[in-house]
Subunit: 294 residues, 2 copies
């Protein structure tokens, strides 16, 4: 029953029709308008080369993971605008958060939630907080009450069917490589349990997100909207498990194409679909698309 794998080189512009039953993903939606149940999670690395103001305005909930608050503060201090961009929450084991930063944000309405357990990372705690916030008014209300400081967030129950959050993650990739792999792995894991969530890592170079098993249609206003020179470069990255790929709208479309680490990986590919591309995958996988805020 195995069909032979094929690679097809395409011209630079291709009209691609969205399949009827496709899972539609709009990776650039946050540049256009406010996203419904959306959170911005800032992790502890230097912030540079992104439109933080736009990202902030178009996401509803703003969370700093521990020392991520220091980075946010430093960034806006340079622009003398710290008071305009106060996170809703700071969460984590607080081994990095600076006292003056904590004090400033608390004075401006931010809630600090210590969670000292070392069996979850500050990133995991931030993702859990996002889901608690958007699950219901009841669970959201609990975030404004005292929370047990070791792992109180874990005691607040989440019902996967009720949770649907679009998470935008800043500073999750790059830096120490185990942190990069940890970030990706946490998203892979959480996505298995919470199938309605979406995840976008925003980096200075690209947008990195999870593709669900099945037929995905990546929709965008135009290729130019990614802000790159030429076709936006992309890669389909089977970091979870082996995947069989079928695509339509890439510079090098693949058909019945098995992809795995240690085997074939489609990197340095590119989007040529004029306003969308189809990626069908036999398992969840990670994709990145080149993107610049310039």
């Amino acid at each position: 029953m195995d069909q032979e794998a094929e690679v097809i080189e395409n011209p630079d512009n291709l009209e691609v029709v969205a399949p009827e039953d496709a899972h539609v993903i709009e990776p650039l939606i946050f540049k256009d308008r406010e996203v419904g149940n959306s959170s911005l999670i800032v992790l502890n690395q230097e912030i540079h080369s992104i439109d933080l103001e736009g990202l902030w305005r178009n996401t509803k909930l703003h969370i700093c993971a521990d020392g991520g608050a220091n980075r946010l503060f430093e960034y806006w201090k340079k622009h003398q605008r710290t008071e305009e961009f106060v996170p809703d929450f700071i969460v984590g084991d607080l081994d990095s958060l600076k006292a003056d930063v904590q004090q400033f944000y608390e004075q401006h309405g931010c809630i600090v939630i210590p969670q000292y357990t070392q069996y979850a990372s500050d990133f995991m705690k931030s993702m859990r907080l996002s889901m608690i916030y958007f699950q219901s008014e009841t669970t959201r209300g609990l975030l404004y009450e005292p929370i047990e400081s070791n792992k109180g967030l874990e005691f607040i129950q989440l019902e996967p069917a009720q949770v649907s959050v679009d998470m935008y993650i800043l500073n999750g990739l790059g830096g120490r490589f185990d942190q990069t792999v940890h970030s990706i792995n946490q998203v892979i894991q959480l996505a298995q349990q919470f199938v309605q969530n979406s995840f976008r890592f925003i980096t200075p170079d690209d947008i990195v997100f999870l593709l669900r098993k099945g037929v995905n249609y990546i929709k965008y206003p135009s290729k130019q909207s990614f802000g790159c020179q030429g076709n936006p470069v992309c890669g389909m990255l089977p970091l979870n498990t082996e995947v069989v790929l079928n695509t339509r709208g890439l510079k090098w479309d693949v058909l019945h194409w098995p992809s795995s680490m240690g085997g074939h990986v489609s990197s340095s590919n590119a989007l040529v679909g004029i306003s969308g591309a189809v990626i069908e995958c036999s398992n969840d996988m990670i994709i990145n698309i080149e993107h610049s805020f310039n």
Copy 2:
């Protein structure tokens, strides 16, 4: 027969004896002395926060992958030392190499080898060139003759049993995420065929390398030699396939511990062995260790 997985928290300093049959890896050897058959491969990203001079002096062969030559040139131009650090070879499809950089390096003895095929990346071409150079005087000699410009390097035969090169890779990780994954995947693939090679990605934050299936002993002069505050942080990253881990000398040692993407991954762990640690893995895997040149 399955033994139960265990995690053991250790004190901050632990005497760890090297097992007799272990594969000994010295990740910091390049800081101490010149490494035998070693190549430095410079890829096309900005160079920063590393001791490039030391790395250059302690590696024998210096290769720039296409636009990596621009980065090398820019870096040394700032220090007005471009003439002291001329690469032996520039290889790739040459779509990024600047004409003035090419001219300067050629005038100073560098050999430029165009390889236009798009079925291999400039990184792959650089690794292949390294192996050809060190395999034998005969194959090395071919590099100084004209080489077919599409994929001539692929026509030079390599015998895995005769090839043993330590490759140091600069700018292979970070930047666009598909490039990072591509770099890792190429190393995983090449290591399967060329079992005597070793690979080190050198980044501003860490050293990333491949652990071979079996018992590995990571040997270092002292924990301080990694240049970090406190214990050097590390992660065992099963990016290839599932691995069962047994360790001795980490802050959180693991026993009979299955690790996989989508499952458990040991990140933000740390070396506590005073001058070494043992990592036994049931398959090849990637490890990173925090490292600073400061």
